[in-house]
């Protein structure tokens, strides 16, 4: 029983991290119909840059802020200069964003060195409580808390603000929004920056969670985020959150009980969903 509870908490924490990555991917795809293969690279950049700031300043919070800033800046650069010119061409889009993933991963190796970097938690987060037989690790609860906050913030943004209204309308019908005199390109840019910032935040939180980071985490977690988005339904925030939890928890159990097929479990889940509900669990159409 204790093992089950521990695994579930681990899974939820991992799920929160994946959610940070998947939410942006899903939002960007839902609104712009761009599947950003470079999204995982933003995760890796957030991790590396954030950790660099963290080791320079010694403050974890500043590291997190640094990660969000670098994510947003990179997001702005990518959207403005590289993705905008290929909006209308799906084939070029897939290829360009894939190329970006490659270049950004290599840039990490150039700037931060090709070896993996180990990360220590700050002491105030590096505690755990023993409750009955269940070990509650403070950092995991912290990650879950951030995940919940971001989810609530996104929900608020989407449901209660004008920008959210435009985004939701844009997901339904882009042309109509444009016809009403709203500059949808600008909204695209905001959403892209938001998604990139969240991805970088996820990367930074991931770094001390796993203890080591390497340049390939971008590719690995990018694929996981994609699986989540497919299962949850492109463009659906609640779907992404549920699917992220599902994938996180399932992954935690699979790595514990059948470690060799852990990745395959999520892949099979995605196949199943794609076969029977191609639009995802909560997706429309």
């Amino acid at each position: 029983m204790d093992v089950l509870l521990n695994l579930t908490i681990n899974g939820i924490a991992t799920g929160s991290l994946i959610f940070l990555l998947a939410a942006g991917l899903s939002l960007i795809f839902g609104l712009m119909h761009v599947l950003n293969f470079a999204h995982g690279a933003l995760f890796a950049w957030g991790a590396y840059f954030g950790v660099w700031i963290y080791t320079q300043t010694g403050s974890f919070i500043v590291g997190i802020l640094g990660a969000i800033v670098i994510g947003a800046v990179l997001g702005w650069l990518l959207e403005r200069w590289i993705i905008q010119p290929v909006y209308t061409n799906t084939m070029s889009q897939i290829q360009v964003t894939m190329g970006l993933l490659l270049v950004m991963n290599e840039c990490i190796k150039v700037f931060f060195g090709p070896n993996q970097v180990s990360v220590q938690l700050p002491s105030y987060l590096n505690e755990s409580w023993l409750l009955g037989g269940v070990i509650l690790i403070k950092y995991r609860l912290f990650v879950i808390g951030v995940g919940i906050l971001v989810f609530l913030g996104l929900q608020y943004m989407l449901k209660r603000t004008r920008l959210g209204l435009i985004v939701r309308a844009g997901v339904m019908n882009k042309e109509m929004v444009q016809a009403l005199g709203i500059n949808i390109k600008k909204v695209f840019l905001y959403v892209f920056i938001l998604g990139s910032g969240m991805a970088a935040l996820g990367g930074m939180l991931f770094a001390p969670y796993s203890g080591v980071i390497h340049a390939e985490i971008g590719m690995d977690y990018g694929i996981l985020a994609f699986i989540v988005v497919v299962i949850g339904g492109m463009g659906s925030m609640v779907g992404s959150a549920l699917a992220a939890l599902l994938v996180g928890v399932l992954g935690a159990f699979a790595t514990f009980y059948v470690p060799s097929v852990a990745l395959a479990v999520n892949m099979l889940l995605m196949f199943g969903v794609l076969m029977f509900r191609p639009a995802g669990l909560l997706g429309r159409g």
Binding site: I82, T90, M91, S92, I94, I223, F226, I227
Partner: protein, 321 residues
Amino acid sequence: MLTKRLAFSRWWMGLIVLLLIGFPFVSDSRGALILLTQIFIYAVFAMSYDILLGYTGIISFGHAMFFGIGAYTTAIFLHRWDHSMLSFLISLVAVLVLTGIVSYLIGVMTLRLKSHFYAMLTLAIAGLFLVLAEKWRDLTKGSDGFTFYIPDLLKDRTALYFFALAFMVIMFVLLKRFTDSPTGRVLQAIRENEQRTESLGYKILHYKIIASMVAGLAAGLSGSMYAITLRFVNTAVFGTNVTLDALLMTIIGGVGTLFGSILGSALILLVHAGLTDLAKIHWIFERWMIFFGALYILAVMFFPQGIVGMFRQWRAKWNRG
């Protein structure tokens, strides 16, 4: 006019092949010989990718899996059984059977999906193959890989050179015939307009599966040839970089032109060799993927028709006067 142009390009191809046949007799540079052998083999891999990207208009990020299956199948046959020519030929048959089955199954499962999903799924499936190869250490020896002996006939670098050249020429002719066949024409119609082709009564999925199988078979064969030239195999053959190499070669050379893939393969491998030499001067050249990645992004954005496409455009302009 068309036949004249065909005859013209055939004349050029013949000349190039003759030059390549003559090459080992005039040059005794072992490095150049090995580089050219690799170019021939990668050219076949790039051509197989072009069947998907250039002729059918689908992007796969998992093409390395067929390359890897080919490389491992041949390597395991030669390592476990014996290193005779017979065993090599049987391994080629096994490669065709295996890649045929795998590409069929994956095609049936994934080719219904929209291009984004297909690209991501193939990336994920290739990732699974990589994990499988790393975990199944009894068979593959994981990322350490293993060396093996190759048939005596192919041990001589010059013999292998001619063998690879013949391989490329044969595959070029076969794939050219495939793309010019009625099936190939339907594939190009799908690339141009999927809905219209479907409304003309063609089963899109059926044709896409054919394309992916042909591409998979050719990629598998190029993988076995690759293993033969290295006499070594490890899990790197399943890496995403392998797929991206093919993508880059196809794009640079010119999509939808088999000859472009050959040109692209030559160019990329030559540049790669040059950059590896430069790495001794400055460490930044060790990260040559940055250069290729940037080149690739720029090519997709500003230069989507590739070298052969550019050349054709010039010629068309010139002919019009």
